[in-house]
């Protein structure tokens, strides 16, 4: 089976500064990859390149069998740390905008779909509210539902729980776990190691723009190969 996402020696610069240094990794369809690493190591940049939000300068990036921009509209779903919901639209309209405008669904079809997805992320009764009236956890679940409305083949998550109060983290991770159980291909930047243990097929560790190590949760949690990864895990887990 061909890879859903394949990075081959990906290089990226912000001006003089090299953010990504020959990053190579493959994600198979249905696989769940968790990316972790210290702040500023380039995790967001990797995910943003896959989402076609950033250009890259060297190497190759293959997403669903083509260049990142060549994927169908909404086929690569993205969930941001800051939710990025549309504050002027209701929750329902946040969900239906893409299906109606990008997929050409009728309003009726789009709304049926949206209601079903709100059910799935466990906020069926908030459809008429504006995002600003919801809690952070609810907003992030709306953001997940908004991406799912486009029937993505890959879902990218960039620290989806980092902006949340602790008591709301679980409700978002639960939704992500269910999504994983349904077979979605997922690439998640997160420091929630409990989630990583339960859900990830593989965990990748990045530092200073390099992909240092990739392994299964058992591997990396029992015997990480690099000392940098070991130190990082120590800090995160003791915390």
């Amino acid at each position: 089976m061909t890879a859903a996402v394949r990075l081959t020696e990906l290089d990226k610069w912000f001006g003089e500064f090299q953010v990504l240094k020959k990053v190579s990794i493959e994600v198979s369809p249905g696989e769940k990859l968790v990316i972790c690493g210290p702040s500023g190591s380039g995790k967001s940049t990797v995910v943003r390149c896959i989402a076609n939000l950033e250009p890259y300068e060297g190497g190759a990036l293959d997403v669903l069998g083509g260049e990142p921009g060549a994927a169908g509209r909404g086929e690569v779903g993205m969930v941001f740390q800051q939710f990025n919901l549309f504050p002027h639209l209701t929750v329902l309209d946040n969900l239906t905008l893409g299906p109606i405008r990008a997929l050409g669904l009728s309003r009726r079809e789009a709304e049926d779909k949206a209601h079903a997805l709100l059910e799935r992320v466990k906020i069926p009764d908030q459809a008429a509210k504006k995002p600003g009236q919801l809690s952070g956890g609810q907003q992030q679940r709306v953001a997940i539902a908004r991406a799912l409305c486009m029937e993505p083949k890959v879902m990218l998550f960039d620290e989806p729980t980092s902006a949340l109060d602790p008591e709301m983290i679980a409700e978002v991770l639960d939704v992500m776990e269910e999504l994983a159980a349904e077979g979605m291909t997922m690439i998640c930047v997160t420091h929630e190691m409990g989630f990583a243990k339960r859900v990830a097929d593989r965990i990748a560790f990045m530092d200073a723009g390099e992909l240092i190590e990739v392994g299964t949760p058992e591997q990396v949690f029992t015997a990480p190969k690099s000392s940098r990864f070991a130190d990082f895990l120590d800090k995160i887990l003791s915390h």
Binding site: L53, M78, F80, A102, M150
Partner: protein
């Protein structure tokens, strides 16, 4: 001191009158037949002042949006035409531009085979629209740029094209930032439309001038003229505040 100045100016104006020191409110006294006729003559200017201002404002908004769009590009070369237009247009004083459009533009058009007579009304509309569009363009640019970048990124990830993102996500949010300064610009247009009097358009100021020539009562007539503009501007301000409240109520 500053507050006393208008008073002093008023007294001076009184002094300019043919009968020094007397007030001649009778020229615009609506209880007398002659006064009422004069008031009506002056007030009929509202129609064209409002028409010119509205048309100019609508045109200015359309030109402004069109001019603002390239300014959002990351490419310096795409942004360049926007900068040139804005810098060039806003450096031209209104009066010379009015003369140029009214007297010059028809000649230019004729030389390229278009026979178009520009009357004072359309001359004023075109001039005000172009002159104002440089400011409108800047208002659009800063309003659009005030919407967080994450909004267009989110739009992109749900499959919207750039223009769909602009239309359904960015502009609706930018509008709340754009509307107050745009309203100020409309007030500016209304006031600047007074310049159209010099090319013979029968708006508020022109009518006041004409009446002054026949009645020799500049103080009273120009006082009423100022009041007329004041009323117009107050109405616009109230309308804008109503609109803002309504949009604010929609937001939350």
């Amino acid at each position: 001191m500053k507050r006393l100045f208008p008073f002093a100016a008023l007294l001076l104006l009184v002094g300019c009158d043919s009968q020094p020191g007397t007030w001649g409110w009778y020229v615009i006294d609506p209880t007398t037949k002659a006064g009422w006729t004069n008031v009506q003559f002056l007030m009929r200017g509202f129609t064209s002042t409002i028409q010119v201002s509205m048309l100019a404002a609508v045109a200015s908004i359309m030109i402004g949006l069109f001019v603002a769009l390239p300014s959002l590009s990351p490419s310096r070369w795409v942004r360049l035409p926007n900068r040139i237009y804005v810098e060039f247009v806003r450096s031209i004083p209104l009066l010379p531009m009015l003369f140029w459009v009214f007297y010059g533009l028809p000649v230019v058009l004729k030389s390229v085979g278009i026979n178009l007579n520009i009357d004072p009304f359309w001359g004023a509309v075109i001039t005000l629209a172009i002159s104002d569009s440089a400011f409108t363009a800047e208002i659009f640019r800063s309003g659009i740029q005030s919407v967080p970048h994450g909004q267009s990124e989110a739009s992109q990830t749900i499959g919207l094209t750039k223009s769909q993102a602009m239309r359904y996500v960015i502009l609706p949010q930018a509008v709340r930032r754009i509307l107050p300064p745009l309203a100020n610009q409309f007030i500016y247009i209304v006031k600047m439309s007074a310049f159209a009097s010099v090319i013979g358009m029968q708006e508020l100021t022109r009518r006041a001038n004409e009446l002054v020539v026949t009645e020799y009562r500049p103080l009273e007539i120009y006082s009423l003229l100022i009041l007329e503009y004041l009323v117009l501007v107050l109405i616009i301000s109230a309308a804008v505040r109503w609109l803002e409240r309504r949009m604010g109520a929609n937001e939350r």
